[in-house]
Amino acid sequence: MRCRWAGAQADDAEVARAVVDRIVAHVLAGNPRDAAPAVHEVLGEALFHERSRLEHASGQRADADREFWAGVARALRHAGAERSAKLLREVVARYAGEIRGHFDARVYAVATRALPVSLSALLNGLSPAHLVAHAGDLPNLEENVVLEGEIDTLRALARVGTIILAPTHSSNLDSLLLGFAIYRMGLPPFSYGAGLNLFTNPMTSFFMHHLGAYTVDRSKTDPLYRATLKEFATVLLEHGRHNLFFPGGTRSRSGEVETHLKKGLLGTGVVAFKNNLRAGAERPRVFVVPATATYPLVLEARSLVADFLEKTGRGLYLPAVDEFNLLHRWIDFLRGLLRLRLRIRLVIGKPLDPFGNDVDAEGVSRDGRGRPVDPARYLLVDGAIGDDPERDAEYTCGLVPAVLRAYRADTVALPTAILAFAVFERLRRSAPRLDLYRLLRSPSDELTLPVAEVASDVERLLGDLRALARDGRIRVSDEAADAATVVRRGLETFGTYHPVPVIERSADNLRVGDANLVFFYRNRLEGYGLDGSRPALPPDHSAHRV
């Protein structure tokens, strides 16, 4: 058994090679169930998808891609079996190379060991001095991030198996937050499938290149690319590298916590586990650990909700420039955090096995009645580990609700969300005939409410939230001691970062400054069955899709 970290350098090229070998072998063998799809068909499909994508793409990278695919098209026309197999290998190797990107195991090992503790130090490290001069004081992550939940269990499991950390995704800041949290928990670095935009953003590219990140290009729809990406994550897991990916796939546009997950990357857990068992690996287990981040304010909230309203409102709204790319927004955001001592909450959820069972600190899977379960036996067919991709995909479908339930339970009800929920629901009740879009576009003098009424709504809401918290279905912030505190703290926070105060007080009234953002922050409490929201799943509802 190779040493997991010292061998990382040598591993790296090996990982990419193994990915290419497996994908090529798989295509050449065809799918034993269907008639084998010829290599030509696979490449033809790749050509089709890539050409469609490149119609709308520009830049150096796109030009290079166009040239590459033109070459593939020419060569494919006259290619016999041998030549087309070689072409296939070239295409997959190109994909694997892109995914691997700047992933350099040596830098990876050094950079993560020396990961700076404070965000200001991080910014120092990546940007010219003038940036920091403008930035002034920036927060110390130690003070602004609260890490809680199953941290000890996660640490213990990272020693006996390989971890898939599966966080909620509400902001691009999540990547930094999790990088920090992994460091702070004393865990070895995680491989991380990051969206292409994180590599092009000046504020994050540094981390992405140095934190074991590999590239996920969501604009690529070619199934061969997707397969290569999945295989890449699988092989990394098999090499004992802990992985981090956002199973929601993309930042929540509405502000609501994830309601659906992508099963592709999440499904690598069961496949890696199976391959490990077959290979007789020393530590074959793979654990899926949900993590839930709650922000009092979201850096790119305005861009996200604008995009949400545009999508669901069919063009009534125009998307804004993504604030994530604007440096001064970052600085404003970080200053706001610091000034108000706002705390980002990151809750590590109960670890799961790839089949959706809870896992205890000893790494033992437990069924719904707490009985120990041997997970390897889920893969047995007539006493031996059996291949059955449909079965494995179905196991992943069963894992999804368990992860979603952890997200809900580990969300922290913060004053901003509670206040926004109370205000939004009161506005909605006062104008029952308006649809969402008309409501959000009402003139601001119509979006004014007596503060006493809102406070009494907050009071009731707090009662409901505490009842949910007692059942372990949500967490309530210690800042939400009573209605008056929630209103005060909520207003304070809403007045600090966004260009206009989201909600502000004038005399005995609350006035909505940005209705879209009220909607956005309100949505964090959607789906709990609170007055005005969708009903919740029953707390002990079966974890599995049936």
Binding site: R371, V381, R391, H541
Partner: protein, 351 residues
């Protein structure tokens, strides 16, 4: 894959020696499979093993030689990979909890129970997942009068699972020139259809006894099906499932057959008999009685309009007379037949 799965002589376990469980055991044994049929009752075990009959379960049936009855759950589950659970819905959890101590992740478990757990409204697969570590599960349903199948009359049934191997193994155990085993994958739909059709069957029994005529019976069946689909869809089923064997197929047979227990409950109610007496005389579980209560509560919770099932609930639990219920129904039913507004008849009437 597949090819290597289970040799054909691997035993099958059937939990529950009621009339359906006994019939399923007989079918698998007729296909040459050794079958371990679990029952709580030692006398029943003795009768099955020595006389090859189960007079309480399926009177008159001579059981295939491969069926062996056991009262020890551990013995029943020791060797089989495929386990069929045919236990009444209100005892289902208890049996699953006990079996949960013995079942392993590689087991394939299919249940053949048509009902919901009364206290939680859970479907049987949900109970299975809560009480055991098993994931590879499915449900068997369809228009299957046990006595007819036991007598070798032709029939079709549907095995519903997200796991192809579960469907394959079930087919292998049960299908024959007399029994077509179809595949499906809408588990929630099949389970909900199976539970709700028993409520409609009670109404059909009432109508038959009241001699309201064939038109009225067709009216009742059709509107009943619409209610099943509406409530089922609100609970996560796919509407088309209700047009399949487990939906309209099962509903048709239950409403038409005088042998159906739920139908018999309806007839007795229409004769003015009291529910406790009816159930005592029946001597078997009539799933529709509990399902009517679940359907009533679920429809309220999800704001779904189910006038027919509501009237069955009132007759069963609130002592309303069947004829008053029929009058009430005729007054309520006047919305759209099918289409976009079909589910909102009452709302549109009330404005």
């Amino acid at each position: 894959m597949g090819e290597r799965d289970s040799c054909t002589d691997r035993p099958v376990a059937v939990l529950g020696a009621g009339n359906w469980g006994t019939t399923l055991a007989h079918l698998a044994a007729s296909n040459g499979r050794p079958v371990l049929l679990w029952t709580r009752d030692p006398r029943q075990r003795e009768e099955i093993n020595s006389a090859r009959s189960n007079s309480r379960g399926v009177p008159g049936l001579v059981l295939a030689r491969g069926v062996r009855a056991v009262t020890d759950l551990g013995e029943a589950l020791a060797r089989p990979v495929l386990v069929i659970v045919a236990i009444p819905s209100q005892a289902f959890r208890e049996v699953c909890r006990a079996a949960g101590e013995l079942l392993a992740p590689e087991h394939l478990v299919v249940h053949a129970t048509k009902g919901l757990e009364r206290s939680t409204h859970r479907r049987m697969t949900e109970v299975l997942l809560e009480e055991t570590c098993v994931r590879q599960i499915g449900v068997l349903s369809g228009p299957n009068i046990a006595a007819e199948i036991a007598a070798g009359k032709p029939a079709g049934t549907v095995v519903t699972s997200h796991f192809p191997r579960v469907v394959r193994e079930c087919r292998r155990a049960l299908s024959s020139p007399r029994l077509m085993v179809f595949a499906g994958d809408d588990i929630a739909g099949v389970e909900l259809a199976g539970a709700f059709k028993n409520v409609v069957a009670i109404a059909a029994g009432i109508a038959a006894e009241m001699q309201v005529g064939e038109n009225a019976k067709a009216l009742l069946l059709t509107r009943g099906l619409a209610e099943m689909a509406r409530l089922g869809t609100a609970l996560g089923a796919r509407p088309l499932t209700f047009a399949g064997l487990a939906g309209v197929g099962d509903l048709a047979v239950t409403c038409a057959s005088a042998q159906s227990r739920n139908n018999r409950v309806g007839r007795a109610l229409a004769r003015g008999e009291a529910l406790p007496d009816i159930l005592r005389q029946l001597g078997m579980v009539a799933e529709g009685v509990d399902a009517a209560a679940s359907a009533h509560e679920l429809a309220l919770a999800h704001s779904v309009d189910v006038p027919l099932m509501d009237q069955v609930f009132r007759v069963l639990y609130e002592g309303r007379s069947p004829s008053a219920s029929l009058d009430e129904l005729m007054r309520l039913w006047a919305g759209h037949d099918v289409g976009a507004s079909a589910g909102r008849s009452r709302a549109s009437l009330l404005g």
